[in-house]
Amino acid sequence: MEPIKTRTADAFKMSLEAGELVIEFGNVVGPGQTPGPTAVAITDRVILPLDTGRRLVHSLEDCLKPHAAALRAEEAKALPSSEAAVAARPGRAPVRPPPEAAGERAAELLRMVGDLGIPHHYERSFKICRQALLANRFLLTVDAGNIPGNPGERTLEICDRLHMPGAAREAATANFAMAKCVHFGFEADDDSIICKLYLERAVPGEEAQRARARGEPTLLGLAFKWDLVKDAAVTTRYLWRPGLSAAEIETRLAFVYRDGPRASFEVARAVFDLTRGRAAAEQLQYLEVEEAENARGSFDLNLYNAKLQVKDMQQLLHRMREHFGVHPGQMQALYDQIKTKALGHLAGGVHRNGEDFFNIYYGLVGLPHFHGGFR
């Protein structure tokens, strides 16, 4: 073992990457008096599991408590004298830059689901669409039967903290009884912070067989999605087409992309091709997705049974990147971190304006540990 080196740092950046907290420490370079972003020379990068991160927050708060007054006084020096006296008063919120709203909301959701004290799944994803790669997305899944107390009330308490709109709340309440699994979703980019509640049914075997026999879909779940920034909300219906053969899945993909770019259909089909010889098509859950509020047509193909890794679709990720005009370095930075994660779902589709997208889900992990029970 190398001896521990002691280094000082006066700057840090924290991010959530591939299900872990990444903290970069460094030092501000130069006097920092010139306009524009401050330069920081990064010296260390530390990766923490979320649970360790939570303990770190508590420890930091404990360490800072004795110094709170002095820190407030120091921060107040930068304020106009009229505000300084108020800011330095005990009990006032410390003066600090505006919080990063998306990060705070994501952390809040992680904390609230963690506080349920039950096993849950954590799954990351990224969305790729025209000139954008959005990696700040995740899904938390719990078995509704494990939620302590009144599962519906506890679930909606979490949604209330995330400012779920009234209409969506009413619909979720009315449909909660159908839920075998509850998924809490989060995604954010520069313009939006979207929270999601999914209610997933356990479709009875006979119902699935009936749907298969008739060649019709059956409702697997509902999702309520609301944007904290844009004040918009949608309700999404997930329709499962049980037991589709490989040819039938290809036919359905062709239907989804009937008005969309051929290149994306080819990529979706090529991802599906990766599963050949690894899992029977009938073992891959194929869903189609409807939203009453818009004409988006999309699909979701669960690939976990094929036991692929993200790196197995490296070439197809290149094709997606080129199709959507995403910067190669941006995609590479994400790919480096997730390439050995299990490949989970491929979702994709076409908006009414003809623009399309893919969502790739990966690296499902059980927290605090997974003991089976769902999926």
Partner: protein, 289 residues
């Protein structure tokens, strides 16, 4: 999946490292351009090497992390071969050990070379060629590099470690490319393999390559070698053409010049005098993955 399908692109966080894993300032903005590993992947494609070569690269990187392995692409006669170099200057407190890397590549490369991790080596290297990659023969040598205390310039000694024993291979001497050019020339001329009364030292200290960061001169058992560290993409092209690399290798660099112009490369060639002429025995260019 071919090498081209595995191409990688520089991110905003990529370090710029030379063949000693010393950091340098990139020659141009790097983000979105090629990582140097693409040279390695393209050479695999050109050589038509067994697909296990790609898996060996991945296995090494997964074991010790990214940007910790130097690769060399070598031309021996008309055949390509490769070498991977590993550095850990912590010596006996090393994290990147021969044992660790051999363990990572064992599914692909059988190796019965005994390793003494108590030795103060700071670097080692493993060979790769078409036969090794396909599993047709085992890896029978590990090259181990040890410091050379007492030398007035930065220096190292290489040994070949085999199941049968350990043999002295090479001595390396490093010179600053700008301030120590004369010393490098003197070192080249102080050799049993080079007669500076019959050949100009410029044949070794190639003027087009001398504008670089570091020059290394090596004395090997049957010949000498010179390395130019920190040459730009145009100098790399000069090197590849001068040393007679296959046209697809040259064309790849030429066609992707704009994607490679942020990188500094390391190049070198082995030589000796034969019948009054300077003969190049092998050559190589280097990058990092």
């Amino acid at each position: 999946m071919s090498g081209a399908h595995r191409f990688e692109y520089a991110t905003a966080y990529d370090p710029s490292l030379n063949y000693c894993l010393w950091e340098y300032s990139p020659a141009a903005p790097a983000e979105d351009k090629f990582r140097s590993i693409n040279l390695l992947l393209q050479s695999f494609d050109h050589a038509g090497i067994d697909g296990r070569a790609f898996e060996i690269v991945e296995a090494i990187r997964e074991e010790i992390g990214a940007f910790r392995t130097v690769f060399g692409i070598k031309l021996l006669g008309n055949r390509l071969a490769w070498e991977f170099y590993f550095y850990d200057y912590a010596r006996r407190r090393r994290e990147v050990s021969i044992t660790r890397v051999l363990s990572a590549v064992r599914p692909f490369l059988a190796c019965d070379v005994p390793v003494n991790e108590n030795l103060p080596y700071f670097m080692f290297s493993l060979d790769l060629d078409a036969e090794l990659a396909s599993g047709r023969r085992p890896l029978d040598v590990v090259h181990m590099y040890i410091g050379n205390p007492g030398s007035t310039v930065s220096s190292g000694i290489a040994y070949a470690v085999r199941a049968e024993g350990t043999w002295l291979e090479n001595f390396y001497f490093f010179f600053d490319g700008h301030s120590q050019l004369d010393e490098a020339a003197a070192k080249i001329c102080s050799s049993a393999h080079f007669d500076d009364t019959r050949r100009l030292v410029d044949e070794v200290l190639v003027p087009e390559l001398c504008d670089c960061r570091t020059i290394c001169v090596a004395n090997k058992q049957t010949h000498d070698c010179v390395y130019f560290s920190g040459v730009d993409v145009d100098q790399l092209l000069v090197f590849l053409k001068r040393l007679g690399y296959p046209w697809p290798i040259i064309a790849f660099v030429q066609d992707n010049r704009a994607n490679l112009d942020h990188l500094l490369f390391d190049v070198g060639f082995d030589y000796r005098m034969e019948g009054g002429a300077l003969t190049v025995l092998k050559s190589g260019y280097y990058g990092v993955f």
